[in-house]
């Protein structure tokens, strides 16, 4: 019965996508939650991750690239934060516009360095190609993607739940009293969190590159699902982001077959429905962002 | 007006309860506020005064209990609905339109203006009633001559008075004041005292206050909140004598020193 097997495979595939979306979205949300900055450059940094990997891979191999490229992106983020910093406490618009400008600049920089032609990155040999396990036929690399995504999500969870920084991130930008109580230098925390968020974007970029191939514009499309995932899941909610990611992943995966023409719109539909039903997203508490 | 109306409380609170998470802030609070009286709600810090005030003004919704205004159940009305019923409030932490001049601040609060809220064409300045009402209020709060100064450039004292003025411009029938004197001293405090005195002849006033001298000298009736419960209520004299009140206040006095 091929239909059932196909359906199962599609579901599985939706989940893998969802995990990837969740990674992108979490990096985005760390920054959003902690300094109330919509990091528009998230997509560009995502792309940058891929390009760094492209540059590193021939010399150090894929695994090292996977480790190093995001660090490079993180550093870029670190630098960006020194600019973004000036927008804290002002109308959120300023942070948004600053990163918007950064996104344009980064995309053009990529164009200058690598040109507007596309590139492809090949995954390590042992995950190249598909595999057949019983009725299940699937791509080896995507299994690796799922594993890496889970590891990353686990790491973020640990960061949020088991470190003092996590507490601050969850408390959000406003509760600086609590930050002082913990005797932590807020400026440094923000800088660190920004770097971490961009690191997540970068590593997602590296992971996605072998599947989606590289073009300077790749980031633009990658960041939109992240926005939606965050709003659906509820700003500031770890599990919300994961749930949202999986929902968007499944929805866009399956709708490709059911309503291919509208499959892009499906996630917006999802967004609208969720908002009608729960204005703050699935797991969002009444957040400072509304007050 | 008829006798029944004179006796019936303007605002009445029955069995009000509010908890945040597990922590109960207000429990079974019953209050009555009589017409054309100054009623004060006092209590040490953390007694639940502000929460109570937020429930009265509709910023928060109670877990239990009901709030009646002139016999109408307003428990679940939004702040703006209550305001349109004639319940106007002032804020403890100054909440003015800082880029607006004194005149604009007051004018936008006048009901005549509110009724024209969706008028997109005639200049706001052309609404006569609003202009006159605003001018009157500004005289009342002793800011005549500074009409065209932006609120952010006023002195703190003047801003405090403007805070009340904006509330008054709403032509309240019930005026709720959240610590009107906080940080106030000298001349502005006197102006405020006289103002409230005069208003109490025509208005029903509910005031939350720390400044005992202010409360004792002005209010007809005082309710004391302690740890979310009303522990006493009565005329100033009675409250001054009330042992329990002294106890809890001395307690807080120590508490505040320590803090």
């Amino acid at each position: 019965m091929p239909l059932v097997t196909e359906l199962i495979t599609q579901l599985l595939n939706g989940l893998v996508l969802g995990l990837l979306y969740a990674v992108i979205a979490l990096g985005f949300m760390l920054i959003l939650g902690t300094m109330e900055v919509i990091n528009f450059a998230h997509g560009a940094l995502f792309a940058l991750g891929g390009y760094f990997a492209l540059a590193l891979q021939p010399h150090v191999g894929w695994w090292a690239a996977l480790a190093l490229a995001p660090v490079g992106v993180g550093l870029v983020g670190l630098l960006m934060e020194f600019g973004v910093r000036r927008t804290y406490g002002r109308d959120p618009l300023f942070g948004l516009l600053f990163t918007f400008g950064a996104a344009l600049a980064l995309e053009e920089l990529i164009r200058i360095v690598w040109g507007s032609r596309g590139y492809t990155i090949s995954a390590p040999a042992f995950v190249a190609g598909p595999f057949q396990a019983g009725f299940l036929f699937y791509s080896k690399y995507r299994v690796l993607v799922a594993v890496l995504a889970l590891l990353l999500l686990g790491a973020v969870w640990w960061f949020l739940e088991r470190t003092p920084y996590g507490a601050i991130v969850k408390a959000g930008a406003h509760d600086s009293e609590m930050v002082r109580a913990l005797g932590i230098d807020l400026a440094r925390v923000r800088n660190l969190v920004f770097a971490l968020g961009t690191f997540m974007a970068g590593i997602a970029g590296v992971i996605a590159a072998p599947m989606w191939s590289l073009k300077p514009t790749i980031g633009a499309e990658a960041v939109m699902p992240a926005f939606i995932v965050v709003v659906i899941g509820g700003i500031g909610s770890f599990w919300g982001a994961i749930l949202g990611g999986l929902m968007v992943g499944l929805a866009s995966g399956l709708s490709n077959l059911v309503v291919p023409r509208g499959s892009i719109l499906v996630m917006y539909l999802l967004l609208a429905v969720v908002l009608l039903w729960r204005p703050r997203g699935l797991m969002g508490q009444k957040s400072m962002l509304e007050l | 007006m008829s006798a029944s109306e004179a006796t019936a409380p303007v605002l009445e609170v029955r069995g009000l309860r509010k908890a945040f998470g597990g922590h109960v802030v207000l429990d079974n609070v019953n209050l009555q506020f009589q017409a054309r009286r100054v009623s004060a709600l006092i209590g040490p810090n953390g007694a639940g005064k502000t929460t109570c005030f937020n429930l009265l003004t509709g910023v928060l919704a109670p877990d239990r209990g009901e709030i009646r205004y002139r016999g109408q159940d307003i428990t679940h009305l939004s702040p703006d609905r209550r305001a349109r019923l004639g319940m106007c409030r002032s804020f403890q932490i100054l909440n003015l339109f800082n880029d607006y001049t004194v005149l604009q601040n007051v004018r936008v609060a006048v009901p005549a203006m509110r009724q024209r809220g969706f008028n997109l064409w005639t200049p706001a300045g052309a609404v006569r009633e609003a202009e006159d009402k605003a001018a009157a209020v500004i005289r009342l709060i002793d800011l005549a001559g500074r009409e065209n100064v932006e609120a952010k450039y006023l002195s703190y004292g003047q801003r405090r008075l403007l805070e009340i003025g904006v509330a008054l411009a709403g032509e309240p029938d019930l005026l709720l004041m959240d610590e009107p004197t906080s940080g106030l001293g000298g001349r502005p405090l006197e102006t405020l005292r006289e103002l409230v005195q005069r208003l109490s002849e025509t208005l029903t006033i509910v005031v939350i206050e720390h400044d005992m001298s202010f409360v004792l000298s002005l209010s007809h009736h005082i309710s004391v909140l302690h740890q979310g419960v009303v522990i006493a209520g009565g005329p100033p004299a009675a409250i001054r004598e009330n042992a329990e009140v002294r106890e809890c206040y001395l307690g807080t006095l120590k508490y505040t020193r320590r803090a």
Binding site: E6, G115, S116, P130, S139, G253 | -
Partner: protein, 432 residues
């Protein structure tokens, strides 16, 4: 690197001048630049190049621009046309209709260009040709393979230099049906070009008696095609016709390799831009496709042209001429030749000189002809597939030409054309 090399020599000096001017402050640079453009726009023949440097077709856009510039420089070396030097002013149309329209208006209104050429996406070509028709200025749609611009959207001033979907599909159809099988599955890029391509594919299927196993739309901006690939695997067609372009196509092939889908069926990409093949490399650019030209062809003039091109664009990202840059070159060259024949830049005369003209030295086996009834450049096609890495002489020698389809067989007959060309009376006279 592309951009340093992509400017004409004049473009370079101009930019240096401008950068200098800008150095003194935007205001100075600004007025300086604008006035400069006006001062220069008079005497020489000025050709406006509307080539993308941003967006989906950025690299192809630059490729065609290189071809055009080469042709223009060759004419200047011979002393120009009608004793006038030839200038070119380039605007980045960003693969975007409304940007293209704005910049074209600027070229026409401010820079007073005499001719305009350059387009990859039909989304740019269609509005530009409409705009050109309004002014009566001649516009060469050098590389858009959409059918609409030579059918319902055809214009008196517009000439289409690339082969179009109809031609690709009709050239491929019989071969595919004969050699690869008759169970076809369609992937349609969900925008006007893609749907148009699938429509003509369907007509061809009827002709060759192929059976449609199903169709899936590929939304624009979609990055993940595993769903479609898995579907294809479960449907088990013999042939997959993928009417897709741009990054979606490269990403799809990337993932097809990932899922081993290239073995599930024979893949056919009717429209294949060479730059995309370079992106993918020989391993991943599997499948069959149609092309109009490649520098590896063994035809008269190809070698010389290729050498000239390589010399001029030694450090371009793609230093060899491909179908895109060859179209650009031929378009520019034929325009200037037509001006020579007409003895004027007056639009009507030049159009007359172009219509029905036969291009013999087109570096192909059979000559091309500029058809007067729909202004399509009727030309031959090559059926091709990617060379095995072992057979490649260099990294650009990727195309294995399987067979040649002569123009009369490849080009749509007059009967199927829906073009209603404006009369000369309806077309404003431009320039001269």
């Amino acid at each position: 690197m592309r951009n340093r090399s992509a400017h004409g020599t004049k473009g370079l000096t101009r930019r240096q001048v401008l950068k200098g001017a800008a150095g003194f402050g935007a205001g100075v640079g600004f007025i300086g630049n604008w006035r400069w453009a006006r001062a220069q726009a008079k005497k020489p023949i000025l050709i406006g190049l509307t080539c993308d440097a941003t967006g989906t077709f950025a690299d192809s856009g630059q490729a065609e621009r290189r071809g055009m510039i080469l042709a223009i420089e060759e004419f200047n070396a011979k002393g120009g046309v009608l004793g006038r030097p030839i200038e070119h002013k380039w605007e980045d149309t960003e693969t975007d209709a409304s940007v293209a329209v704005r910049k074209a208006q600027r070229l026409i209104e401010r820079d007073k260009i005499d001719f305009m050429m350059g387009a990859l996406s039909s989304g740019v070509a269609a509005p530009l040709s409409e705009l050109a028709q309004r002014y009566g200025i001649i516009y060469f749609n050098s590389n858009s393979s959409s059918d609409t611009v030579t059918n319902e959207k055809c214009q008196r001033v517009n000439f289409a230099w690339d082969a179009n979907n109809w031609m690709f599909a009709n050239a491929l159809g019989p071969l595919v049906a004969k050699d690869l099988g008759k169970k076809w599955f369609l992937l349609t890029h969900d925008y006007v070009w893609g749907k148009n391509a699938t429509a003509v594919t369907r007509d061809v299927m009827k002709k060759v008696g192929a059976e449609e196993m199903g169709e899936l739309f590929i939304p624009q901006g979609a990055r993940d095609f595993s769903a479609q690939l898995l579907r294809i695997r479960s449907v088990k067609p013999q042939v997959v016709i993928a009417n897709m372009a741009g990054i979606e196509q490269t990403a799809l092939r990337e993932q097809a390799a990932e899922f081993g889908a290239e073995k599930d069926a024979a893949w056919v990409f009717p429209q294949q831009d060479f730059p995309d093949m370079v992106t993918l490399g020989p391993k991943k650019s599997f499948g069959y496709f149609c092309t109009t030209w490649h520098y590896t062809l063994d035809e008269p003039g190809v070698k010389e042209f290729t050498d000239r091109f390589r010399k001029r664009w030694a450090n371009a990202p793609i230093p060899v001429p491909d179908n895109v840059s060859c179209n650009g070159y031929l378009a520019a060259r034929e325009l200037l030749r037509a001006v020579e024949r007409a003895g004027t830049t007056k639009s009507h005369d030049v159009i007359k000189a172009l219509e029905g003209h036969v291009i013999k030295d087109n570096f192909r086996k059979y000559p091309s002809v500029i058809r007067e009834w729909d202004h399509l450049v009727g030309q031959m096609l090559y059926l091709a597939r990617t060379k095995k890495e072992s057979e490649m002489k260099d990294k650009y020698d990727m195309i294995d030409m399987m067979s040649a389809v002569p123009p009369e067989a490849a080009s749509p007959p007059r009967g199927v054309s829906t073009c209603k060309m404006q009369s000369y009376a309806e077309t404003p006279v431009y320039g001269g």
